[in-house]
Symmetry: C2
Subunit: 477 residues, 2 copies
């Protein structure tokens, strides 16, 4: 007896993404290294995800102190935890049902945390009001996006819901969209212009989609993953005007808003721009903005916490959203606690402020230093080019591969940049993601890697990459 | 602009379940009480869910000590945390990527925790082997069940996947099944026989389903929610033989395995019985068993942790399952830590053993005492009857309602037991779930409430319920 014969055909058609193929190979290499098998490298470095703690970047102490005291309230009387962290834990416990973070949080999330998030958004957006009841706490931005796709996607054939999706982007979103039965409508970011989002391209994509599907939403990632683009206010205004004109729902992934590199770049939220554009935009354009504690300087992947803020939604739709968020879970209490600290960190004068700001600043300095090194090293390597990384946690580097590489990959039935990544992994012990996983213009090839890693490791990464690359290029020249 | 016009029709057809209607009314009553509005009761008591911490049952100290030290590793040197809890935290941190529980756990879950769970199952099942690689850690049993339904459900019309589901059960499972497009095939537990699972009824349900759908799986809840049934070994053997003969996949919800009331009742797992039945059953019947840290004496709802163990699955199906568990997230690190403690609690001789066993025993005593009080009080109330509650966290009490109640409810367009629950909430401040939400034989009416609450509160609940009930019955007699 086996139910394989009857397994859902939709499931059978799901293939293992290339990133997982690489990761399972990476796991095997790690085992071989532990077994003492000799390789050209002592240690494998995995830069395929933005999970910075896994690469030794330390968690923020204040956050972890509050969590510890929430877990074990006896610590509310221990001087091992600073007074302001204990105070915060006390107020979070008061807001938990029965005074235990083991109880289930209310639909939408803990009231105190929703208020903190709402205040955070208002401050961030220069006073644009934010309503706690329009904020839903989730187990992360991906879960929130998936819930939205469930709300949005319907229809068959040419009436199937279409969503405009940037290329390149990361594969989780397109997989979730496909899984809901939606149609991905790709729009290409302009690499030569630092991965700019250009209006003509959005227009082209939308026109091309009409007749094939029913385009209903526009997905943007700002700061970009993997592009590193941070949109200017002007660019955001253009996108909002386009969405208004074409009656598109705006799904705005802003999970990298804390990681902006350099002082000449600024993050401006879509919501802020929308409100500052005034009527009719500010009262009509429907928008959902996503954020998470997994990214940025917190990097608390394992905690699973995020939020979505809904703007200008029909009250009826809000009701449906509530049903969904209720049914699919409003996330973990730990994730919500992390979100509370993200939204309401220690302030100047608080006992924990000096350490907190020093820890955050140190991570930001590391990121900025890594970004500079990536630019200066890789842009000097023949056959590589890297656009400015203005925000986010990724470098997305173009590989100018010789024709012979492309031919050999084709013979092997594999994408050329996937072949490059496999060899980079096997020969140099670096695990990165091929551009084909993110989407890219035909005939162009890329690799994506995370820049959230200690400076000395980034140096090692760049040296290995440079040396492997010149080897590889020589072999095929 | 509003996308309501285009919202997925599947979504629009989802109605707010009755439980949520009651819960939002309960929230309003709580607000009114806070505002000083006078009612016949001082405090609202919500027994609608099994969230025991929300009702003041305290978390297990050892678990919370380990969690606190994992969150904030400076506590590894604090004598506020017992030595064995610190030791456990150290070993869990060693097994976390980068030594931080903020990093993302590997697909399937942390290796150490999967081993603990596997050892726990082997011990529980008297030596029946359990393979860590066949155990997947999840954010809870509901997520794991949903993933399984995604794997299982396919087809259209008479080829749509059918799943046999017990009546009564809780509504989350049937909602998830409907949401995946599967067909619910109800089989009725026999109330007069203490909610026994009878083979003739399973046969009847299966026959009735054939031709309408393609029955592929059998869902059982043991111990039962809300039935309180704990199946005997003989009953489990019968179900396994039936599943083997009819080629049904067994989905076994065993989340209440820790809460068995009284010494004359024993929990035996389906897997143990399956293996002890020997060939051909032990090597052919496909089975998935679900467990969770939200239930039982732990009650750690907010942590979101559970596991599923897969038995006799085709390796190809395992591969697909892996893809799904990978894509939909392998849960939170906190949930996995809680699971590690559930599977591997302090042992006799460990510093934390005395407190741990005292805390667990105290919760078990409370439950047993509450079960006895429910039986003795409610079975003496005219118009109420309650079958023995052998396991789990719920009482499911039959209401023998007068014809006039039924007529008045019909006129109001509401189920009679829903009307009863609404009045019970408004007039006596008790929030319980009507039987119509769980499913019940036509013409029978029930209420479900959780027995996981301190003894003095249970006493108060029973007094309010008894007094409301006699009032209500007099009004309609």
């Amino acid at each position: 007896m086996s139910f394989l014969r009857e397994i859902s055909p939709m499931v059978r058609s799901i293939h293992l993404p290339g990133q997982e193929v690489l990761m399972s190979r990476a796991a095997r290499i790690r085992t071989e290294l532990r077994q003492g098998i000799k390789k050209d490298f002592m240690e494998l470095i995995d830069l395929s995800s933005s999970d910075i703690h896994s690469r030794g970047i330390k968690p923020i102490s204040f956050l972890r102190q509050v969590m510890a005291a929430c877990c074990y309230p006896s610590l509310l009387h221990s001087d091992r935890i600073p007074a302001d962290a204990r105070e915060r834990a006390r107020s979070l416990l008061t807001d938990s049902n029965g005074g235990s973070i083991g109880s289930y949080p209310p639909t939408g999330g803990m009231a105190k945390v929703r208020r903190s998030v709402s205040d955070f958004i208002t401050r961030r957006d220069g006073g644009v009001p934010s309503i706690p009841e329009h904020i839903f706490l989730t187990t992360g931005s991906q879960q929130a996006l998936t819930i939205f796709l469930k709300l949005l996607v319907s229809g068959e054939g040419p009436l199937r819901t279409g969503v405009l999706v940037p290329v390149p982007s990361y594969s989780t979103f397109s997989m979730a969209l496909a899984n809901q039965g939606g149609v991905m409508v790709p729009y290409y970011l302009c690499e030569e212009q630092g991965w700019a989002l250009e209006m003509e391209e959005l227009q082209r994509a939308l026109q091309a989609a009409r007749g094939h599907c029913n385009p209903m939403a526009l997905y943007v990632i700002n700061p970009g993953n993997p592009s590193g683009l941070v949109q200017s206010r002007k660019s955001i205004e253009e996108v909002i005007r386009f969405a208004a004109q074409e009656r598109l729902f705006l799904l705005v992934d802003e999970v990298y808003q804390e990681t902006i590199h350099g002082e000449d770049t600024e993050f401006v939220s879509y919501k802020r721009v929308l409100f500052e554009m005034g009527s009719p935009y500010s009262s009509t354009v429907e928008l959902a903005s996503f954020h998470s504690v997994s990214k940025g300087t917190f990097g608390e992947y394992g905690m699973r916490g995020g939020y979505v803020e809904l703007v200008n939604l029909d009250p009826k739709v809000m009701e449906h959203a509530l049903t969904f968020f209720n049914r699919d879970g409003s996330g973990t209490v730990m994730g919500q606690i992390a979100l509370d600290i993200l939204a309401d960190p220690p302030q100047l004068g608080d006992p924990s402020y000096p350490l907190y700001s020093q820890e955050v600043q140190s991570i930001k300095n590391t990121l900025l230093s890594n970004v500079r090194r990536v630019h200066s090293v890789l842009n000097g390597v023949p056959g590589m080019s890297c656009q400015p990384i203005r925000g986010g946690l990724y470098a997305f580097v173009q590989l100018h591969l010789p024709q012979r590489v492309i031919e050999q990959a084709k013979e092997a039935g594999v994408e050329p940049d996937m072949m490059y990544c496999q060899r980079l992994l096997n020969e140099a012990g670096l695990c990165v993601v091929p551009g084909c996983e993110c989407g890219q213009r035909e005939g162009s090839y890329h690799i994506r890697f995370c820049i959230g890693v200690q400076e000395e490791i980034m140096e090692e990464v760049l040296q290995r990459l440079k040396s492997f690359h010149s080897h590889f290029m020589r072999e095929f020249s």
